[in-house]
Amino acid sequence: MSRAVAITGIGMITPLGKTAPEVWAKLARGETAHAPPGSFDAAAFACPWCAEVKDFQPELYTREPKMLRLMNRDSQLAVAAAHLALADAELRIGVDYPPEAVALFGATGTAGMPLGEIGGLIRSSVSPTGQFDPMRFGQEGLRAINPLLSFKILSNMPVCFVSISENIQGPNAIYTPWEGQGAQAIDAGRRAILRGEVPCALVGGCDVKTHDQAFLTLEQQGWFEPWKQGQIGPVPGEGAVFLVLEAEAQARARGARCHARLAGQGFATRFPGESLTEACAAVLRQGLGTPPAAARILISAADGNAATEQAEVFALASQPGPPAEKIIRPKCQAGNLFAAAAAFQVGLGAWLAGQEHGRVQAHCFGHGSEQAAFRLEAP
């Protein structure tokens, strides 16, 4: 018996909305979440905008509100999105499946925080000559640290908080730090189901690239180059998206609605210095079922970076078959969610596949070495 894997739950906390229909409606209206950062002055950076999640109340999404003080924003977003995904799937852990039969695979981004949160530590640890002084750090700087800092900088914490909040006890792993690793998390859940290890997996990612330190890190990685060249480039965003994957037969047996079936996937590693186009084309040549461009809807990886967009276009052009009827570029309106971006692309694609009863292809191309794409079909 084939073990088709279905997406039965979608949970998203994104700059464009907190449900797939809401995000889709705003995309269709051409709304964007791009705006100057609310938490710092971006004047020093070429990119003046970011895409923030507004009106986020983390206490609404967890059974363990006391834990919120241990969490950074990445973790709070992850816990909320995971909760929404399980609610969307109407999945009761401990009732529909035992906790150990649910896997959890997530992706997290570069662990960062607003520099202000450790500003006291830094100022207390500087010598009169303006150098970092480990002795001052030990004597005074440590007193300025939140004792719970480690919980906010360890990259595995968002997923661990999800497991605690939702009582998920099954197989797990956490990948970092880009969109491609988010795609790997989705695939890890798919493979765990296919090998019969679990009937259900919660997969997704979270990231926050809207604070000052994240902007500095992106600046140092050259991510703002298009902006420096006078173009409207990619916009850093924040958010979390989780998806409930289930063995389709078992999902149907419990009466679950299936948004879409994971019908194919492709992965390729972009070797440093090599063309992104070739890596994207290599992805599209793998396992996506019928010719990739035959998808009715294409969730493009385009995020405003002309080089990425060009690579995607050329890769598509190298594939046989007719073009997609619709091309959607969610990152151009919701910002780039980095480690959460793959789940965002796939989640939106799954919802559209279910709504329009069509075949959707979601691309996870861009920064980092790992490139991926998923094919989604109406069940």
């Binding site: 002055d41 020093a44 640890s125 970092f132 360890l154 595995n156 730090p177 690793q181 330190q213």
Partner: protein
């Protein structure tokens, strides 16, 4: 039929030794790698001890720029040693998989300090960077080591960076094992690297009160399963394993240390700071790994414990072992090499996987040192003080991590491998340091 996956190369950089000639003999001799912190002025920190890797001689990686990111240096060195040990230093690795475990990102306080007096530090840093002031970036992404290894050795597919904290090393090895077993490739380089021995790492962990603060007796500070244990000791290190299908390894006449036969993970879903007291996550993890290997509990001959030396972890792990193995638990030697290496966080699971392979390959198991005051609640055979001969065929290696992530690996000696495989290895003296097998005394 499942493909069989074997370990054909080991590379380590640890506080008890980095080369093949010193890591394993030092471990068997019970030598601690813990000492006063020397890499920075730690005198004002509450914890001033750790396990530093000494004499790290990084082979030339001209394209790598690890800067001050110590874990990257350690990882590059360990990976090179592993591939050399497997006889693959010059091999075409393009079809292979690369699976890397890491934990904490490098964050340069030194870079921020000069602008600490600025009204807006981030603006000052950004302008400094844009002006080409040079220096390392504020943060180095966690996949930097993966990128460097992939690029240098030209792995062409499946680069994976796992950040599952203390379970990351075991998960990196376990995932590579699964993917090879499922036919995705024939070969993988899998392992992990980490260093928390910097002001922010050591300071941050010390605030969590999980570290032993016995600065005046560093070598005795980490005491897994001892009644007087006070906490773990942070250290740094890296280990990489070369995994291959048995068919490929046989075809090229490779030395085989051990076979990996089982892997499982679980979550405690309890607290981010403490293990779940009943040990349910650890129980499930070990049980699933045994099931994956197709082994009954009675078939396990030794356990390479997570054994951190924290009061809660050691008790929970002991109770979990008893639940899984029943009466057989008292017959299994359970050893904790963190008593000598300290806790290398992400790297620990990979280093301990390598130690498990070496125990099967050399027919010896290392001791748990500093165990002098038996804890009535930790009442298994912890191989206290002295290494032992080991004629068993199976090892279970546990990594139970911060945040509640657990991973267990099962290693087995191949049926046709001689007990003391060392004599057949290249160089003859590679891992055991001696051809004979006397019982070794700990220091």
């Amino acid at each position: 039929m499942r493909r069989r996956i074997v370990v054909t190369g080991l590379g380590l950089c640890t506080p008890v030794g980095s080369g093949p000639g010193d890591f394993w003999p030092n471990l068997l001799a019970g030598r601690s790698g813990i000492g006063p912190i020397t890499r920075f002025a730690a005198g004002a920190l509450p914890v001033r001890i750790g396990g530093e890797v000494k004499g790290l001689d990084l082979p030339a990686f001209p394209e790598a720029e690890p800067g001050d990111d110590r874990k990257v240096r350690l990882g590059l060195a360990a990976a090179r040693l592993a591939l050399g040990d497997a006889g693959l230093a010059e091999a075409n690795l393009e079809p292979g998989l690369l699976s890397v475990g890491v934990c904490l990102e490098f964050f340069s306080l030194e870079r921020v300090a000069p602008v600490a007096g600025a009204a807006d530090m981030i603006q000052a840093l950004a302008r400094q960077w844009q002006a080409g002031a040079g220096g390392p970036p504020l943060q180095i992404p966690l996949d930097f080591l993966t990128q460097q290894l992939g690029k240098h050795y030209r792995f062409r597919r499946g680069w994976s960076t796992n950040c599952s904290a203390c379970a990351a090393g075991a998960q990196a090895v376990g995932e590579a094992f699964q993917r090879l077993r499922e036919g995705e490739a024939e070969l993988a380089l899998a392992g992990a690297a980490d260093s928390t021995l910097n002001p922010l790492g050591l300071g941050g962990f010390s605030l969590l009160r999980i570290l032993a603060q016995e600065n005046d007796r560093p070598q005795a500070a980490c005491r897994p399963f001892d009644a007087t244990r006070q906490g773990t000791v942070l250290s740094e290190g890296a280990a990489f394993l070369v995994l291959e299908t048995e068919a490929r390894a046989r075809q090229r006449g490779a030395r085989i240390y051990a076979e990996i036969t089982g892997y499982a993970t679980s979550l405690d879903a309890y607290r981010v700071s403490d293990p779940e007291p009943s040990g349910r996550g650890a129980v499930r993890c070990m049980s699933q790994a045994l099931a994956d290997a197709g082994l009954a509990p009675e078939a396990i001959d030794s356990i390479n414990a997570h054994g951190t030396g924290t009061p809660k972890n050691d008790l929970t792990e002991t109770q979990a072992i008893k639940q899984v193995f029943g009466e057989h638990a008292r017959r299994i030697p359970v050893y904790a090499i963190k008593s000598m290496t300290g806790h290398m966080i992400a790297a620990s699971g990979a280093v301990e996987a390598a130690a498990a392979c070496l125990s099967l390959y050399t027919g010896r198991i290392p001791p748990t040192i500093n165990l002098q005051h038996p804890d009535p609640l930790c009442d298994l055979d912890y191989v206290a003080g002295q290494a032992r001969e080991f004629a068993g065929r199976t090892v279970l290696s546990n990594s139970f991590g911060f945040g509640g992530q657990n991973a267990s690996l099962v290693f087995q000696r191949l049926a046709d491998e001689p007990l003391d495989g060392l004599a057949n290895g290249p160089g003859g003296t590679a891992w055991a340091g001696t051809g004979s097998r006397p019982l070794l005394s700990s220091e």
